[in-house]
């Protein structure tokens, strides 16, 4: 009926999050507040609620869903659709349940004569101007208007007038707008203004001629713009590059956001065809071949090295590590660099977002170093913005000045500033010393620099100093690292070396590229007759320089484990089957191990996961974050680092929205993302779209 999974997930979310969710979401009652609870009746059933709870939330607590269009538990209350009108016994008029706080002794009648008449009336009004598009509308089957008119609407129409029509608006290549279907619930307007921080959408006109849009032809330029598609209860805002679904997690950044994957006939976002037949390049002529021939002789006595890219799952990483270890090689590297000095990646607390994403809602001061979270981890940034809006979070930044959708204290972009804060001489240190729950977030791009170890040392010093200062609780963690690639944390957990220096120092004869497309190592860095094997799903740079290309599966085509920047292990599930001869990555490595004579001891996913547990037990604790400690020890070791900070300013790689869309092999291969970049640089009108509904 009404999106019940969404509602129950939202209620569960209200229970999980530790901080205050400002908009009166206090459906869970706490024992402490029992003294001032209010007794209300829903259809005669008594229920105790905290004062300030709205009628709608009270009914939800009892299990009664009140129909609504404009109310959303993560947005501010608007109360303009009037669908939630319910009768209160002995009150003269029905009240809007989403906005009215309950009073003691009220009896809320959710199914009385008056309530039903109100709902039928509102539904009749909403449908009076709504076009008869159901058969051609993308939202059909998941449309709130359809569901609610079936449940609460009248069974016959008395409509004989004409309907109004509205022009479609062009707000970018991701959102298809058919504004005639809009019911003016203003969810998109509130989302853009509150959550995205971009005040582009608004209402123009009034009454029958009211329109939602940007008024002037303007692109809805935000990294969170696609969310309005999910918010819109009718088919007014839908997805341009669209279709049908499975649940998985997003590995295009390191937040590991849970997503629902859209596929159509076996394809997801990419449009370029994937390589799905094994190819051996022989004197620049590509010809199909089978595994056995080349590989069994390949590994005899040669030095092997491997580079893992940004979207590799933990099962493949552990299989690769075991394979290379058995061939007596330890040269396993990640493309992303992380400082080796000090404790390096021995201690998990050194490379995780220790305060966790939910910790952002509790903290009162955040210092960002060398990162642009808006485009590196948009959902992290949305959480910070939420805290900034509702919990008085102060944010300060050391790095290039960027638009984060909220105001912050820009301390400067030079490493000099960082040094001063670490030494205690910068005026900001006083503010830091007074914070009760400070958080320092350093971006992984800042740690990629040559002075990465020195930057890390400075950040670690700042974190330790603020911990030592007055007021910080014992268990609160200050130091955080925000990663940008999904596989980095899992690779570090498993013991991979960070950055390709090890390969540069000892160039191997055989190089295995597992999804490595960041162009860190080229042929020039390797000995003349070296052999490169590329295994992946979307290879652009890596595949071009390889001798053998083995087609692996993308994250939507396998059951894989990924660990996000907090250290939370999550799984992806198969949404589409991998095309052609492509296989799951760990299975390919298992096959190679057999041919190379060092058969790996696992044949099923469960056995691989048992091996994962042997290396690092947190990798199989799905959806949980394991606490990591020993900050003091890590700091002691980092103090011994003898590197000095370079003068170059801290500039994150993604500065404006046009840098946001194409940052990894999957998005680089996408036509839609290319359109987004074009629209962002040249304006919405520059992207020509076919004119179909």
């Amino acid at each position: 009926m009404l999106r019940l999974p969404a509602v129950s997930r939202a209620l569960a979310g209200a229970a999980h999050s530790q901080g205050s969710i400002a908009i009166t979401n206090n459906v869970r009652t706490s024992a402490r507040a029992s003294s001032n609870m209010v007794e209300v009746f829903v259809d005669g059933k008594p229920v105790m609620v905290e004062p300030g709870t709205t009628v709608l939330q009270t009914c939800e607590k009892v299990g009664v869903q009140i129909p609504r269009f404009c109310y959303h538990d993560r947005l501010s209350v608007a109360g303009n659709c009037r669908m939630c009108l319910v009768e209160i016994e002995k009150a003269p008029k029905p009240v809007a349940a989403c906005a009215m706080p309950v009073m003691k002794g009220w009896n809320i009648l959710t199914n009385s004569e008056k309530t039903r008449k109100a709902r039928e009336g509102v539904m009749e009004f909403l449908l009076s101007n709504h076009p008869l598009d159901c058969p051609i509308c993308d939202q059909g089957g998941e449309c709130d208007l359809q569901d609610q008119s079936m449940m609460f609407g009248a069974d016959r129409s008395r409509f004989t007038e004409g309907k109004r029509a509205v022009e479609d608006k062009n707000i970018g290549p991701l959102i298809k707008t058919i504004m005639t279907r809009c019911i003016h619930c203003t969810r998109c307007v509130r989302f853009a203004s509150e959550v995205a921080g971009v005040e582009d959408l608004g209402t123009t006109g009034r009454g029958n001629s009211m329109q939602i849009g940007t008024y002037v032809e303007k692109m809805f330029m935000s990294e969170l713009s696609g969310n309005v598609i999910d918010l819109c209860p009718v088919g007014a805002l839908t997805s341009k590059p669209y279709a049908f679904t499975t649940e998985s997690i997003d590995v295009l950044d390191a937040v590991g956001s849970n997503i629902v994957v859209s596929t159509r006939g076996g394809e997801v976002m990419r449009i370029l065809p994937r390589l799905n037949e094994d190819l051996l390049k022989y004197e620049n002529i590509l010809s199909p071949f089978t595994h056995t021939h080349a590989i069994s002789q390949l590994f005899q006595g040669s030095e092997v090295g491997a580079i893992a890219g940004g979207m590799v799952d933990a099962e493949a990483l552990v299989a690769l590590k075991d394979l290379l270890n058995r061939l007596d090689s330890d040269t396993l590297c990640t493309e992303e660099i992380f400082p080796m000095a000090g404790a390096g990646t021995d201690l998990r607390s050194n490379y995780l977002l220790n305060s966790r994403i939910t910790g952002i809602e509790e903290c009162d001061l955040m210092l960002l170093v060398g990162t642009n979270p808006r485009y590196e981890a948009p959902l992290f940034n949305a959480r910070v913005r939420k805290s900034w809006l509702h919990n008085e979070l102060q944010v300060a930044m050391v790095g290039h000045k960027v638009d984060l959708s909220y105001s912050y204290n820009h301390l400067g972009e030079t490493t000099q500033v960082l040094q001063e804060i670490a030494a205690g001489t910068h005026p900001f240190c006083k503010v830091l010393a007074q914070a009760k729950k400070p958080v320092v977030v350093v971006g992984s791009s800042a740690l990629q620099r040559e002075d990465g170890a020195a930057i890390f040392k400075a950040v670690s010093t700042i974190a330790q100093n603020s911990r030592a200062s007055s007021g910080v609780e014992e268990g609160w963690k200050v130091l955080n690292v925000l990663h940008r690639v999904a596989s980095q944390v899992a690779a570090l957990d498993l013991g991979y070396k960070r950055g390709v220096d090890a390969i540069r120092k000892n160039p191997p004869k055989v190089l295995f590229l597992l999804g490595a497309d960041a162009d860190c190592i080229t042929r020039a860095d390797l000995p003349k007759d070296s052999f490169i094997i590329y295994q992946g799903h979307h290879g652009d740079v890596g595949a071009v320089m390889a001798d053998v290309i083995l087609p692996g599966a993308a994250y939507t085509e396998k059951n894989g484990t990924y660990v996000n920047t907090e250290g939370r292990a999550q799984q992806t599930r198969v949404a589409v089957t991998a095309p052609g001869m492509a296989r799951e990555d760990w299975k390919i490595l298992r096959a190679i191990s057999e041919l190379a004579g060092v058969t790996l001891p696992y044949d099923t996913v469960d056995e691989v996961r048992r091996r994962l547990e042997e290396v690092s037990p947190n990798l199989v604790r799905y959806d949980d974050v394991e606490e990591s400690n020993y900050f003091k020890q890590a700091h002691e070791l980092s103090k011994a680092v003898n590197q000095s900070l370079l003068a170059a300013p801290l500039v994150p790689p993604q500065l404006t929205v046009k840098d946001f869309y194409m940052t990894d092999p999957i998005s680089r291969a996408s036509q839609t993302m290319a359109k987004c970049v074009k629209a962002a640089t040249e304006g919405a009108a520059s992207v020509d779209e076919p004119s179909i509904c």
Binding site: D322, N325, R326, L327, D328, D330, M340, A341, A343, G344, T345, D346, L347, R348, D493, G495, V598, E614, V615, S616, P617, N618, R621, E626, E627, S628, N629, Y630, Q633, E636, L637, A640
Partner: protein, 101 residues
């Protein structure tokens, strides 16, 4: 402290036979107390003497404390550190350092 002496004895020899050492422990259980103490008191010394050697410390709630040692050619050996104190943990580490793969 006996553990300190053992750690001094190991010195920079971690990489003699070993390729990687992993310590699994629980953050709060009593069985892992010795392992936790060992890390708190001796990890820094050990790492300073062996700065390039990977000593992976992986905390996870509810696990039995275990010391995993990886030698060449992927051979691994594990020792349970259940209910050991810091001295015994140090001794266990010494034994894997000196063991031939």
């Amino acid at each position: 402290m006996a553990a300190a002496a053992v750690v001094r004895g190991i010195g920079s020899n971690l990489s003699k036979n070993l390729r990687e050492v992993r310590l699994h422990l629980c953050q709060i259980s009593a069985a892992s107390q010795g392992t936790r103490d060992f890390i708190e008191q001796h990890y820094v010394t050990l790492k300073t003497a062996n700065p390039e050697f990977p000593i992976l410390i992986r905390e996870c709630s509810g696990v039995q404390p275990v010391l995993w040692a990886r030698y060449g050619f992927g051979k691994e050996h594990s020792i349970s550190l259940d209910n050991m104190n810091a001295d015994q943990v140090a001794k266990a580490l010494e034994s894997v350092v000196n063991a031939k793969p």
